[in-house]
Each structure stands twice: as structure tokens, then as C-alpha cells.
């Protein structure tokens, strides 16, 4: 990932500057480029090269991270110090070891971790080529969970229950009573409920004498719900169902059905 620079041309330099992970990285690169021994760095040469790179960065209008400038200051300080005769150095430093060793140590340690990072990168490259099995739970969006532990038996049983209740309802009264038509009951419902008004579901049927009338009225109600003239509401399971007349009925209201409605009719069922 770190390109080795042969010629510091402007194009190459741009690539290079983006690639250096920090001032230590740049210093290591310069040491290698100048074929210096890391234990015997020539501070003057290194500082000169380093500052030249920063100048190039400035010319290229690249944002120079603050750390690069701090390092430049450190290098200048170390260089200036080598120019001073030993007797002119601050007395507390005469006894101490050359502070450039601190930089060298830092460079050596950094280089070890940089190499380790390179090895990690190689491992990463290899192992990113191995794919595990993606659990279904993760691949389908969290909302798409399937029906849970429902068996085919449950499904058939549920459908047969529906059919039974239909039969019961059919036995209890004929589905289409001669006396009532769905059209009549639609009018009845629209008459009974003014826009915005609501009524308990059971109350709608209270006055009705025959089961046939109930069924036809129910069908009329379903039709009106389908046409968005009526709205069936329930606050929760086992709570009473309320039927409300829409305030501003919209005959064709796909927006009420959510975002999926817009893309309808493309997919045919399997």
C-alpha cells in the first residue's frame, strides 16, 4: 500500500503524500531512499530532504497534518544542536546522551509496528478471500423474518378453520338475501355515517333482523372500506372495532398502503 517513490515528480508526489501514514513513515522512507543506516542517520541531509517534501506539499496545496510540522521543528532543533560546539550546549544536556537517539529509537520501534501492520495486511488479504456461510437471519433484512416456527400443518389447519367458519355462516343464513342488495346497504351505511363520524362495529348490525341482512351489510361495509370510504379501527387485540366514515375519501389511494404500492403489478406470483 505504501508506494516506493523513485522520482519525486509532482504526480508521484501527490500519490506518495496521501500514502504516508505520518511523519515517522515519511522519515523511514527518506532514510531508505538516501540509503542511510538508521543507527547512523545524517541529520542535516535528512532534515533537508524532509523540509523539501513539506515544501512540495505546500506547493501542491495539500493540507499538511500538524504532526508533519511538529516533526519538522524537532528535526531543525536536532540539526541546530549538532552544529553547536559541545561546550556551548546547555549544561544539563552535556551529560545526557544525544537527543537524536530518542528519535532513532522511536523510528526503530515504529518500523517494527509498521512491518507488523504489513504482515497483518497480508493476512487480511488472504482471509478476506474466505467466505463463511452468511446466516439467513443477517442476509434478509431484520424485518424479513419469515413466519416463525409455523408448519405446513398449521397453515392447512388455519385455512380449514376459515372454511368452517364460512360454512357456519352460510348455514346460519343465506349469503345473498333477496330482500337486500349490497348496493342498498352501501347507501344505508353512507346515510348512517356522516364524514368523520364513527360507530361501534356491533352497533351497525344491532337493528338487523336476518342473518342475510347482516352478511350483505357486512359485505357492503367491506366494499366501502376497500373504497376508502370507511375505515375500520381497533386499538389492540380484543378491543372493540370502530367503523369510521372517512373525512376526505380518496377513491384510489395507493399512498395509504405504503411504499410498496408504487412498484406493484410488476412481479407476478410464483
Amino acid at each position: 500500500m505504501i508506494p516506493m517513490l523513485e522520482t519525486p515528480g509532482s504526480e508521484a508526489l501527490r500519490v506518495e503524500l496521501a500514502a504516508f501514514t505520518g511523519p515517522l513513515d515519511l522519515l523511514l522512507h527518506l532514510i531508505k531512499e538516501q540509503e542511510m543506516d538508521i543507527y547512523d542517520i545524517r541529520l542535516e541531509k535528512l532534515t533537508e530532504q524532509y523540509l523539501a517534501r513539506l515544501d512540495k506539499m505546500r506547493e501542491e496545496n495539500l493540507a499538511i497534518a500538524g504532526e508533519f510540522l511538529v516533526m519538522a521543528a524537532t528535526l531543525l532543533y536536532l540539526k541546530s544542536r549538532t552544529l553547536l560546539p559541545v561546550q556551548d550546549r546547555p549544561p544539563e544536556e552535556v551529560e545526557e546522551e544525544d537527543p537524536k537517539w530518542e528519535l532513532i529509537r522511536q523510528l526503530i520501534e515504529y518500523r517494527k509496528f509498521k512491518e507488523a501492520a504489513g504482515q497483518l495486511g497480508e493476512r487480511e488479504a488472504l482471509h478476506s478471500r474466505i467466505f463463511g456461510r452468511v446466516p439467513e437471519r443477517v442476509t434478509t433484512s431484520p424485518a424479513l423474518m419469515g413466519p416463525g416456527q409455523v408448519s405446513m400443518f398449521d397453515l392447512v389447519w388455519a385455512f380449514q378453520k376459515v372454511l368452517r367458519s364460512v360454512e357456519e355462516r352460510a348455514k346460519a343464513g343465506r349469503f345473498s338475501d333477496e330482500q337486500f342488495t349490497v348496493g342498498q346497504k352501501i347507501e344505508f351505511l353512507l346515510d348512517r355515517l356522516q364524514p368523520g363520524e364513527e360507530i361501534l362495529f356491533e352497533d351497525l348490525f344491532r337493528s338487523m333482523s336476518s342473518r342475510g341482512e347482516v352478511v350483505v351489510t357486512f359485505l357492503a361495509m367491506l366494499e366501502l372500506i376497500r373504497l376508502r370510504q370507511l375505515i375500520a379501527k381497533q386499538e389492540g387485540p380484543l378491543k372493540p372495532i370502530l367503523i369510521q366514515r372517512a373525512v376526505d375519501p380518496v377513491l384510489d389511494a395507493p399512498s395509504a398502503l405504503g411504499e410498496g404500492a408504487g412498484q406493484a403489478s410488476v412481479d407476478s406470483p410464483v
Binding site: G146, P147, G148, S176, E223, V270
Partner: protein, 206 residues
């Protein structure tokens, strides 16, 4: 087949059932930046899948044909073992009302909400929302009926969950599709005839 190991790797890593035609297409195209086997035919893939199925049997894995494609899964008799693994927890079961709605849709799709409600005799908007959210039903189009109501049908996930190759595999599908149901708007209208027509093929019973 020299591409047999590619086939098994693809089936292993796939996130959805793989159709033999698509597997053949991938094998012909080759990998990213590489060469494939341009002569691979769908029938050869099918033959190889049949062999793979046999090889998997003694290994606790099975090749299932679901939702029009093939998918490797654990053998059904080992489900009690697999259930002990962390992270394979199943989503909660559907409630009985939701199950009823799903059953009606499975057998009578495409079907509108009003039609489902006419059959079940209760408001189904909540259960329909649940089923769409769970990914087992989806909006498949719009009816030509007045108001152009939205129609619902089952998804590939529905087939996958129940291990069905296609809807014909639903138990008693012929009979249950033919049963006359109450229609919401116009009893005895053209919808019924359409439904009967749909169930013209015999369905295998599971």
C-alpha cells in the same frame, strides 16, 4: 466435473436458493477477473446437483429444492441439534389470525384485502401488515375491480420457509383452490371462475 468444487462453494456461500440456470451462467462467465467454463450447460449443472445431493446425504446436510432454486441446509432429522446453537433462534411464531390470513393468501392469490376479509369475516389490515413485514407476502399488483384494490401474493421466502418447490406443492391445493368463497363485492362474479380455472392442475399431496 472440474467445476464441482466451485458449485459446492457457490451453494455454500449463497444467501438465497440458486437456480440451476443461474449457476450455469456463473460457471460460464467465470470468476471476477478470471476464466470460466464457457461450455457448461444447465442440464450438466442439474446432473451435478443430483450427485451432490447424494454425496451430502451421509454428511448431515441436504440439498433442498426450494423457491425454484437449490439450497444446502442441515438434514431435517438433525434440527434438534442445530437448535442448540446460539444465534439460530427462530423468530416468534405467527399468531393464529395471521396464519389464517396467510393461508387464504397462499391458496387464493392474487387476492385483495377485501377478499381476504370477506373470507375471514374480520378486518385483516393488521395481519396483512405483519405478513408483509415478515416477508412472506407482498403486493403483486392491482385488481381490475372497482377501486383497483391492491392484490397480495406469497413471496419466495414463503416457499422457502415451508420447503416448497412451488405453490403446486401446497397440500390439497387443487381442492382448496376450488372451494367457493364469499366474494366481497359481487358474489358470483368473474373472480370465482378465475380461481377455479387456476386450480386446473393436479397438486401433489405432502
Amino acid at each position: 466435473m472440474e467445476w464441482a468444487r466451485v458449485l459446492e462453494a457457490l451453494l455454500f456461500a449463497a444467501t438465497e436458493p440458486m437456480e440451476p440456470s443461474r449457476l450455469a451462467a456463473i460457471l460460464r462467465e467465470g470468476p471476477e477477473g478470471g476464466q470460466g467454463w464457457p461450455e457448461v450447460k444447465e442440464q450438466e449443472v442439474r446432473d451435478e446437483l443430483a450427485q451432490l445431493s447424494e454425496r451430502l446425504a451421509p454428511r448431515g446436510l441436504i440439498l433442498r429444492e426450494v423457491a425454484g432454486g437449490f439450497r444446502i441446509g442441515t438434514a431435517p432429522d438433525l434440527s434438534g441439534w442445530v437448535a442448540k446453537l446460539k444465534g439460530v433462534a427462530r423468530p416468534p411464531r405467527l399468531s393464529p389470525p395471521a396464519l389464517e390470513t396467510m393461508a387464504v393468501i397462499a391458496y387464493r392469490q392474487p387476492i385483495s384485502r377485501a377478499e381476504v376479509e370477506a373470507v375471514r369475516g374480520v378486518d385483516c389490515s393488521g395481519t396483512l401488515d405483519t405478513l408483509v413485514e415478515r416477508g412472506v407476502i407482498r403486493i403483486t399488483g392491482r385488481s381490475e375491480a372497482p377501486g383497483r384494490p391492491i392484490l397480495y401474493g406469497t413471496t419466495p421466502l414463503f416457499l422457502e420457509h415451508f420447503g416448497l418447490k412451488d405453490l403446486e406443492e401446497l397440500p390439497n391445493s387443487e381442492e382448496l383452490r376450488r372451494v367457493k368463497l364469499p366474494a366481497p363485492a359481487d358474489p358470483g362474479g368473474p373472480k370465482q371462475e378465475e380461481l377455479i380455472h387456476e386450480a386446473s392442475e393436479p397438486a401433489p399431496q405432502s
